[in-house]
C-alpha cells in the first residue's frame, strides 16, 4: 500500500502536478488554507484544461514553433525548488544576510515592478519572433503580468563588453537542436527570484534552456550563476503548459489601482 502511495507521489511530482507548499509562498503562490477554505481573493483559481499532446509543431525552416499559443507555468516554483532533498541554496553570507533582512512588503512585485527573468508567474506568456526579409533577428517573450516583455537578440550578436544594468538584462538567443537557449547578463540587483526574497547581484548570469517536449508541454531549465550571491551555480527547472487556442494575453496594468499595503498597514 505504502509503496503504491510512494510511486503515485513520485509520478505526480515528475509531472509537476503537486504544488509544493514551500515554493508556493509569496507572490502568486499562497496556497495555504484559511478558515474559509482557500486563501487569496475570490476568483483567482481556475480550471486548467488538459494540455494537448502530440508532436511539437515546427516552423517552415524546421525550428520548433514556440509561438502558436500562450503558455502558463504549471505550478509555483522558487529558486530552491529544484534542489535535492536536504540540499540548500549555496548562498554566500552577504546574500543570506540580505535575504533574512528582506520583508514581504519589500517584494518588488507588490509594488508592480517587474519579475525579472527567473520568477514564477501565474499569468500566461507568449513567444513572438519578428518577421523580416532575413532570418528572424529578435525574439520577444510577452508576459501578461505587469504587461512586460523580454527582448532576445537572435541575430548572432554577442553581449556588449559593458552594460548598464537593467531589470531584464541583455539576452542573446540561439537554438541547440530543438532547444531555445537564452544567455543573459547585465542584470540589476533589484528583482527577487521568489517571494522568499532570494537575492542576486549584478554579476548574475543566466542560461535558460526552453524545450517544447510535445505539443502542450514546455520545460525550462535555468542555470543561475552569480558569484556575487552564490558559492556555485545551480539550476531551476519548471514547466509550462499550452493554454487553449481561444485564450490570449489580456491587459494587466498593475499600477492602475494597486492598493498593496493599505490592508496590512504598510502604508
Amino acid at each position: 500500500m505504502r509503496k503504491i502511495a510512494f510511486i503515485v507521489a513520485i509520478v505526480a511530482d515528475l509531472f509537476g502536478l503537486v504544488m509544493p507548499l514551500a515554493a508556493a509562498q509569496g507572490q502568486g503562490g499562497d496556497s495555504q488554507k484559511g478558515v474559509l477554505g482557500p486563501v487569496n481573493a475570490l476568483g483567482q483559481e481556475f480550471k486548467l484544461p488538459p494540455a494537448p499532446i502530440g508532436a511539437a509543431p515546427r516552423l517552415p525552416d524546421g525550428t520548433i514553433d514556440l509561438g502558436d499559443g500562450i503558455w502558463v507555468n504549471t505550478r509555483p516554483f522558487s529558486a530552491a525548488s529544484s534542489l535535492k532533498p536536504g540540499e540548500e541554496l549555496p548562498l554566500l553570507p552577504a546574500a543570506k544576510t540580505l535575504m533574512v533582512a528582506r520583508q514581504q512588503a519589500d517584494d518588488p512585485n507588490n509594488w508592480c515592478l517587474p519579475m525579472g527573468v527567473v520568477r514564477y508567474s501565474p499569468y500566461p506568456f507568449r513567444f513572438v519572433q519578428n518577421y523580416t526579409h532575413k532570418r528572424p533577428t529578435h525574439l520577444y517573450i510577452m508576459h501578461e503580468l505587469m504587461r512586460t516583455f523580454r527582448q532576445i537578440f537572435m541575430d548572432g550578436r554577442k553581449h556588449p563588453p559593458e552594460i548598464d544594468p537593467t531589470w531584464f538584462g541583455h539576452s542573446v538567443g540561439s537554438y541547440d537542436k530543438d532547444t531555445l537557449v537564452i544567455d543573459t547578463v547585465g542584470f540589476n540587483d533589484k528583482t527577487w527570484f521568489d517571494g522568499r526574497g532570494t537575492p542576486h547581484t549584478e554579476q548574475l548570469h543566466t542560461i535558460e534552456r526552453w524545450t517544447r517536449v510535445d505539443m502542450g508541454h514546455l520545460v525550462t531549465e535555468v542555470l543561475i550563476d552569480d558569484p556575487g550571491a552564490f558559492s556555485r551555480p545551480f539550476t531551476v527547472r519548471y514547466e509550462s503548459t499550452l493554454r487553449p487556442a481561444t485564450d490570449d494575453l489580456m491587459e494587466y496594468i498593475c499600477q492602475e489601482n494597486n492598493q498593496y499595503g493599505f490592508a496590512s498597514g504598510v502604508r
Binding site: I4, N110, P122, E251, G265
Partner: protein
C-alpha cells in the same frame, strides 16, 4: 485501495486548477480572521492588480461604513467567465472573507451572495459548482 484512490484524487484536483494571484495574501490579510457583512454595492473597480468593490454597510451599532473588498484580477476573473457586469452598483450583497490585518473595513472576499440568492465569483475549482471553463 482507499489510500491509492485518495492520493490519485488529490493529484487530479491539484492539476485541475492554478492559483491566480498577484500579491501575497498573507502580508495583507489574516487567514484566521473572517468577516461577514451585508450592504449595497456602491462602486466596482474592474482594475489591476485586483478587482475591488465597495459596499455601504450599516454596522450593528448604527454606524455607516464603506467596506473595500478585493477580488482576483480582471484577467483571472474573465478566464473564469465573469465580466465587469457580473456585480453591479446597487446590488444588495452579503460578503464573507478574510479581514485586512490593519484596516477592519478591508477584506479579501471569498463569498459574494446577491439578495436573490445568486453566488457571484464562486464556483472555482476549490469551491462547489464550478462554472465551465
Amino acid at each position: 485501495m482507499r489510500t491509492e484512490l485518495t492520493l490519485v484524487a488529490g493529484v487530479v484536483i491539484a492539476s485541475s486548477h492554478m492559483i491566480m494571484a498577484h500579491h501575497s495574501f498573507s502580508s495583507e490579510y489574516d487567514a484566521t480572521k473572517t468577516f461577514k457583512v451585508s450592504g449595497v454595492v456602491s462602486k466596482v473597480e474592474w482594475t489591476n492588480p485586483h478587482v475591488r468593490f465597495y459596499v455601504d454597510v450599516k454596522e450593528a451599532d448604527g454606524r455607516a461604513t464603506i467596506w473595500n473588498l478585493e477580488l482576483a484580477s480582471p484577467s483571472a476573473l474573465a478566464r473564469n467567465g465573469w465580466t465587469s457586469r457580473t456585480l453591479k452598483i446597487g446590488d444588495t450583497v452579503t460578503v464573507e472573507g478574510y479581514s485586512g490585518k490593519a484596516v477592519p473595513t478591508r477584506g479579501a472576499a471569498r463569498s459574494v451572495v446577491v439578495a436573490d440568492g445568486r453566488s457571484l465569483f464562486a464556483g472555482t475549482a476549490d469551491d462547489s459548482g464550478a462554472p465551465a471553463q
